[in-house]
């Protein structure tokens, strides 16, 4: 069980996470939902140790969480200049020699003998996913994994995530698209105002969808009414 307890973090004087708490079970996909700027990426960066937390604790099975127990796929993955796709994967599988680079690459057919920096956004994302699989870590963090990926690869991503879930991984995933999250996740935490407002279980997803829609609609209606009257 991944336990995120009262995490506070930010940049300079700006505190973005004001006490985030949630739990994620092994063999589940836990979605993080929030509007742009709500702090999803900040949360993931803090979990992965990129950003020092100002308060709170992170534990996996009641022991402090180490960055080496996590894999993190960024929204815009970055490798290293002048490095080939295959080299990147070779470096990442250093502790997992069972990982067969060519066999896994048959799913995406990436040109692994080319420089990673020449890859398109979607190809870089696929390479990042292959790298993440090469590491074989218990906690997987995916920040907007589907953005910039074509339809076929989107399906492949989802299928791989389901397999990882069956494999007992703890997966945290963010998306701007509610439908994507409700389709793939087992539970969704709503991040707003720097805290998790509520965690919704699968059977509560319809109520989450109606809550989001009603919130957006009521606010938008009021704004549009005002603007159209002014016009």
């Amino acid at each position: 069980m991944l336990n995120v307890e009262n995490i506070k973090a930010g940049y300079g004087d700006l505190e973005i996470l004001k006490g985030v708490s949630f739990k994620a079970r092994p063999g589940t996909i836990h979605g993080i939902l929030g509007v742009n700027g709500s702090g999803k990426t900040t949360l993931f960066r803090t979990l992965h140790g990129w950003l020092p937390k100002r308060n709170g604790s992170l534990s996996l099975n009641e022991t402090p969480l180490s960055p080496k127990q996590m894999s993190f796929m960024q929204t815009k993955p970055y490798c290293y200049p002048y490095i080939k796709g295959k080299e990147y994967l070779e470096l990442l599988r250093i502790e997992n020699k069972d990982y067969k680079i060519d066999a896994w690459n048959e799913i995406f057919n990436l040109p692994l003998d080319r420089l990673a920096e020449d890859y398109s956004t979607g190809m870089t994302k696929k390479l990042a996913l292959l790298g993440l699989l090469a590491q074989d870590r218990p906690v997987i963090i995916l920040d907007e994994p589907f953005s910039g990926v074509d339809v076929a690869s989107n399906e492949k991503f989802q299928e791989i995530f389901q397999r990882l879930k069956k494999d007992g991984k703890i997966m945290l995933l963010s998306s701007h698209l509610l439908q994507t999250l409700t389709h793939i996740c087992d539970e969704i935490s709503l991040l707003s105002d720097g805290i998790i407002q509520k965690t919704f279980q699968k059977d509560e997803f319809p109520s989450l969808e109606s809550l989001i829609k009603s919130q957006i609609k009521s606010k938008l209606d009021a704004q549009l009414n005002e603007l159209f009257v002014e016009k």
Binding site: L65, P67, K68, P77, Y80, I83, L115, D118
Partner: protein
Amino acid sequence: MRATASVGWILLLIGLPLIVILSLGIFAASEEGWHISLIFAAIVYGIHFSRNDRQHLISIGYEPRLVFLAEYLCLALLLGGINFLLVGNYLNLLVMLAIGLLGGISPQANLNQVKDKLFFPVNWIPYQCFEWRAGLRKNGWLVIMLLIPGLFFAHRSPAVTLVAIILINFISTSWYKDFETYELFIRYRQESLVLREKIGWQLVLSFLFMLPLAIFFLINFLSLWYILLVVIIFSFAINVFSICYKYAGYHPSRKRTESDLAVGIFSLCMFVPFFAPITLVYLTIYFFRAKKNIRIQYAEC
């Protein structure tokens, strides 16, 4: 500013002008023939094929070729002119002017298009030395351009080989200005392995590249072995500093070191007798800073 402050203003304000004067003086006063100009050629063409300011010059209304030509000719005139004035050697001046002229008018290859084809063979380098693999793809041809005169003209002057060794090491230190991803950074079993492995491989590989030059140097100028030893030790120190500097400032959210100027200043100051001991103090400081930062980055979340 922070980078220069971190390596010490004293090195920058006093060391750098001293180095420039000393280097120019030694270089320009050389009575050697045109082979010294080959080193100049390596520098000019190295700059020419690496510079990224073409588009910027066009955008501000300058013809890049004219600017390049003017810059290279000025450099040739400065060095070749001083050489001519001091030792009356007009040959170097003419060769340098020709090199500058050729550099200015030769087309700049689009490295993005041709870098796949220009790859230096790197498959023999272990994967964990990805900085070397990436660096040799980027600057491998420049290393070859230094190795060739360093080897072929080693019998003419000790300076040629020594300058080639120093420049190859300068190039290899520049490969440590890019940060790897956090995933690559934390792939070691223990944090203590990061510096140990990086420094170890860096010394092995840089020594491999220095070895043929060193052998040729010793064959021709055995009596000057102590100068070669000093150059190799200084080169190792520069290599170690570039790694320590990188990891002292490593952060997963950044892609590059603050500035490669710091390593440049450190490297140049190593070759000034008065500053060499001071730079060794900086090396020690940065070694411990790097160790501390790696420990922080590897710490539990």
